[in-house]
Amino acid sequence: MRDPRGVGGVDDLFLLLVAVLSFSLFFASFARAYATREAQERGERLGGLADSLLTAVLSDPRWTHGHGLLARDALGIVSVEALRPLAANHPFEVVIWDLATEERWTFHDGSGDGDWRTSATGANVVGSSVDPARVAATVWGP
């Protein structure tokens, strides 16, 4: 002989288990989707900042003769303070590497913790000769 209340309880228990399982799956996938989207947006934002910083370094009339033509004599005036606004106050590092003379100019600001993106390209350092150079800009963010 079965107790009707017991049978009803088992039915409710089944429904409860299914509900817990279903909502767990849903919220887990929701949380994962949110984390993925956030990471992607953060990466894109940092990548955009690194691109902007690189472009600004390669085009600033204070130390270039035009896009990608860095004036050797003027590289001395490049400073962390001059670059900081271009990086939107994020921690950053800019490296200019003259491949002909092996000279490097490095500008570093901030602790550099967290996620980061680097943008790099080719350019020239112009003095008495036109040397090939690699320029890289890295931006960190939370």
């Binding site: 009707p4 049978v7 009803g8 088992v10 039915d11 409710d12 089944f14 429904l15 288990l17 299914v18 509900a19 399982l21 279903s22 909502f23 799956l25 849903f26 887990a28 996938s29 929701f30 994962r32 989707a33 949110y34 993925t36 989207r37 992607q40 990608g68 033509l69 491949l99 002909a100 790099a120 390209t121 080719g122 350019a123 020239n124 000769s129 036109v130 040397d131 090939p132 150079a133 690699r134």
Partner: protein
């Protein structure tokens, strides 16, 4: 099973189905949006071509019938390549640019970011005249930056110099 039990079973199955579909939709919507890598690579190719072609080099030369013909110091890579294509399309046989081409190739390799392949191509009248490296094998994913120049002596076909780059993880 009682009638209420069947209802519970049906409700549970429906709930599970709906939330599974919703979970799938959420995961699908959160997939990373593909970035247009071709546009990024094209911009990189343009920057690299300008940096490479503007670079000046000392001691560039070529051989003509075994005799070395030096080019002036601080000749740009661009001018060297134009001279080469010009001579190869019109010049006499017995020309050898291998030594200086190897220097240009080494320079391009250093300028390029790791993980990228490259080829420098020279064309006149649409026909390939020059390729650095010699056996440049372009994958179908390459992007190219190029510029067209008038003939060096003002007559004859235009010369097109190009730099092709592609992702080449090693």
């Amino acid at each position: 099973m009682s009638e209420r039990g069947f209802e519970s079973l049906a409700d549970g199955t429906l709930l599970l189905t709906v939330l599974l579909v919703a979970s799938g939709a959420v995961v699908a919507l959160a997939r990373p949006v593909p970035v247009d890598e071709t546009a990024v690579a094209a911009r990189y190719a343009e920057d690299l071509r300008l940096a490479l072609f503007r670079t000046t080099m000392d001691g560039l030369e070529y051989d003509r019938d075994g005799a070395s013909v030096p080019l002036p110091d601080r000749t740009s890579v661009e001018m060297y390549l134009r001279v080469q294509v010009h001579l190869l399309t019109r010049g006499p046989p017995g020309l050898d640019f291998d030594e200086s081409n190897a220097r240009v190739e080494a320079l391009a390799e250093r300028l390029l970011r790791p993980g990228w392949g490259f080829a420098i191509l020279g064309r006149a009248s649409g026909a390939g005249v020059l390729a650095i490296p010699h056996a440049a094998d372009l994958p179908n994913t390459y992007v190219e930056s190029s510029w067209t120049y008038p003939a060096l002596d003002g007559t004859g076909p235009e010369v097109r110099l190009a730099l092709a780059v592609w992702l080449s993880p090693r």
